[in-house]
């Protein structure tokens, strides 16, 4: 099972957006949840000697009757008496910028960014967001470096690569939250249906990857390498913009593709290919895409950044709920979003699909949404950067990079404010198909892989 920021309790319940206080609540509990939590905290604060300072703040605020700029005050206000007109953002906090433009690639990974617009969550946080559809990841990278737009949908390794200056100018990008986990697959052209059973069967294939610094590339490499297929020598990897992948598969230019959805399912439904393996099966709960913006932009727009971040995390939570998936598919099918067949998207979102190998599958977490940026994700990515020689072996301080780029703390605070229970820890063992990633020794992982596999 995935490890998400949701408690197992809340999974069973039907969460609903509470339009009063702008949070999701469990179906069988009301907005009292948070207030109970808070009042518990306050009560505890009163009783706990070390919490006295917190109490004194509240008292002071109360006594002074200052304009409620206090996030604490607002939070408790919202919890205690939900105001139907309350804005999702911290009222009293001035947004530095309200008209934002967000760049995205029309793939299912962008779901939280897109669903926020469809659900008017941006408006709720006082933002007027224009979604800018991009064609490929390079375009997004160049746009981000030039500062063209305000925030971007990126592949999770991209902010690290750009911040490190890999294949581009060094430009600090920050990962605010993970857009989606899982949600990609290796799809092989239908002509190889009989031949391809294992990774070894992919040898000699021309395989499309969306971008060098993509989870798709890294996971494909991991998959191939663990099957003793050298990804640089035994196959040809061609960077292909995801929207072009299906066409390339159809034209036979490529034999396989590591594609984000809905292109795998689209290829299957069009009879062009079959799903060889879901990336979920390579690394259950692996990060895929992320919501990012530049460090500079965050510094200039701290409040706006928090607002947009919170909106995306809320949208992400909506998309994560299984009962919302059909609705998500319906919404995303629209022209301005993915412009894809709704049934295809439904198959992607519900995980009930046919893989063209005669199997009807039901994998609810075929794609999933958990915004929590585990630092171990970053460690794994940077270890793979070393592993594949994008940077010299041992040259990266995985902990420091993750600490800088993955804004886990803020994402946690946003989730906390939305009444969720994000994890306390930032690292976890990542269980992959062929091994387990130990985040306490990220520097050893790549070496061990090389030692184990011989390349």
């Amino acid at each position: 099972m995935k490890t998400t920021n949701k408690s197992s309790k809340s999974v069973d319940k039907i969460p609903q957006i509470c339009y009063k206080c702008g949070r999701f609540h469990d179906g069988n509990s009301d907005s009292g949840d948070l207030s109970v939590n808070l009042s518990y905290a306050v009560t505890k604060g009163l009783n706990h000697p070390r919490m006295l300072s917190k109490h004194s703040i509240r008292r002071r605020q109360f006594l002074l009757g200052l304009a409620g700029t206090s996030a604490l005050g607002i939070l408790s206000n919202c919890a205690a008496s939900p105001d139907p007109n309350s804005q999702g953002n911290l009222s009293g906090v001035i947004l530095e910028k309200t008209q934002l433009r967000i760049g995205f690639l029309p793939i299912a990974c962008a779901t939280p960014i897109l669903i926020c617009e469809s659900l008017n969550l941006y408006e709720k946080y006082g933002l007027d967001v224009e979604l800018v559809k991009m064609n490929n990841w390079e375009q997004i990278r160049e746009s981000a470096i030039s500062g063209e737009l305000d925030a971007y949908h990126m592949l999770s390794p991209m902010p690290i690569a750009i911040s490190l200056g890999l294949e581009s100018r060094r430009f600090p990008i920050r990962l605010a939250s993970i857009e989606n986990i899982n949600g990609s697959a290796i799809t092989v052209a239908i002509k190889h249906r009989e031949k391809v059973k294992t990774a070894e069967d992919l040898k000699g294939f021309r395989i499309a990857i969306p971008f060098t610094h993509s989870m798709h590339n890294l996971l494909l490499r991991y998959y191939l390498a663990n099957s003793k297929v050298h990804p640089d020598r035994d196959v040809e990897l061609v960077v292909t913009p995801p929207p072009n992948m299906v066409n390339r598969l159809r034209s036979g230019e490529i034999d396989a593709m590591v594609a984000p959805e809905p292109f795998n399912q689209m290829a299957v439904n069009q009879g062009l290919g079959f799903i060889h393996i879901l990336t979920r099966d390579l690394w259950p709960g692996h990060p895929c895409c992320s919501f990012t913006t530049s460090q500079e932009w965050i510094e200039r727009h701290p409040n706006t950044f928090r607002a947009i971040n919170k909106a995306i995390i809320e949208g992400s939570y909506y998309a994560s709920q299984s009962q919302n998936r059909i609705d998500v598919a319906r919404r995303l099918a629209q022209l301005q979003y993915l412009d894809a067949p709704e049934d295809t998207l439904r198959q992607v979102m519900t995980g009930q699909f046919v893989n063209r190998l005669g199997e009807s599958l039901n994998i609810p977490d075929r794609i999933d949404f958990d915004p929590y940026p585990w630092k171990s994700f970053s460690y794994w990515i940077t270890s793979q950067f070393e592993r594949w020689g994008y940077v010299p072996m041992g040259s990266l301080n995985h902990e420091a990079i993750a600490a800088d780029i993955f804004l886990t703390g803020l994402a946690r605070q946003m989730a906390k404010q939305l009444g969720q229970q994000p994890p306390t820890i930032t690292l976890r063992f990542e269980s992959l198909k062929f091994d387990t990633f130990d985040p306490s020794e990220p520097e050893n992982y790549a070496r061990q892989q090389i030692e184990k596999l011989g390349f």
Binding site: R50, I57, T424
Partner: protein, 486 residues
Amino acid sequence: MLKGIWSLFSFQQGSLRQRIFKGYLIPLILFLIVAGLVYFIGVQPVQQQVKNVDQIYGEIEEVNNLAFSIVAMQRAARGYILGRDSRELEEYEEWDTLFYEQSENLRSRIQETEQRQTLDRIIAIGDQVNEFDRRLISYVQLGRPEKVTEVLQKAEGQAITDQLEQLVRGFEATKRQQLNNQQNRQINLLRWLTILIFGSTAICAVVVLSIGLGISATIDRETAQISNSSLEITSALEEQERSLGVQATSVNQTTTTIDELNAAVQNSTEQAKIATDEAHRALGLSEKGSDAVQQTLDRMELLRQTVEAIANRSLELSEKSLQINNIARSVSNLAYQTNLLALNASVEAVRAGQQGLGFGVVALEIRKLADRSKQSAAEINTLVLDIQNAINTTVKVTESGKLSVSESVKSAHNMSSSFAGVSQAFHQVYLNNQTIARTAEQQLLALQQVSEAMNSLNQVARQNADSIALLRANTQRLNESLINLR
């Protein structure tokens, strides 16, 4: 527009009320301006200062709290790492939430670049501590406590804490400086405020006094004038009251006179009635008199006729008497001749002697008879003479009677005509009296009306008097008020 506004303030125009209004308006506006000044120059900045000071204290406190949260977070993390007590983790999350809220609160409150930088660094340190601690906690939870020791031995954490303390100290020092500045400014402002208030009060006092004096002078002047006017009114009222008294008396007198007149008229009406009646009776009487005169006249006629008849008989009588007289004379003559014959017969009888004696005796007797006849003739003569005389007298009386009867008739005629005149006069009197009575009645009616009018006049006069008395009382009070006003 400007003119209008100026006219509002031009002090010489308008009624006293307007002037008083304006007089009050000016200090009011002044006070408003001063109040506004006090508020905007004094109170608001002082409030702002107080707020600022509070805010600075609050910020110092909150920054300390923020730092404390960081330290507490660290402590909870260490507690967990050493004791593996999951409650420490709960506490850690609470401190973490608190730290975030504090940092957000402070970020929204502190905008000054330098302090903001310090704050951002403190928050960054907090984030780093958080990051670091969570990493350590993660190691513990991943079952790698040796990694914790390893990381801690690199002393990554200690430097952070030192830095934090330094930053907080720096922030506090800056804030304290700010606080001193604020307090100095506050003291200065309060001084200014005091000066402003006293100064403005003085100005207002002067303005109010001058305006008040002006108004009071005006009021004095006006009061004096009113007082004079009031006195004049009083005297006029008194005069009027007096004249009203006179008028009332006159009216009373007139009423009395009219009453008397009324009585007199009534009297005269009655008398006129009586007179009319009398005249009527007199008329009746005079008519009776006239009738009587007519009767008298008729009798007179009869009398005259009788007198004439008498006169005529008397004349007849006189003629008869004359005839008697003539007869008597003839008798007397016969008696005389008889007597001469009887004497001749007696002389012859004597001569005849005794055969003439019985004839001498018869001739004596004849002579004697002749003598007596002569005597009776004489007597008749005398009687006839007497009757003649009487008849003459009677004729004469009759003549005079006739004369007097005719005179009587004449006078009776006169009387009759007089009676007719009287009757006519009485009739006229009667008519006149009737007219008088009618006129008197009308007069009476008119007099009653006049009397009523007089009565109402009297009443009105009394009411007038009452009103004037009231007016005078009011004027008296007005005077007293005016005395109070002075």
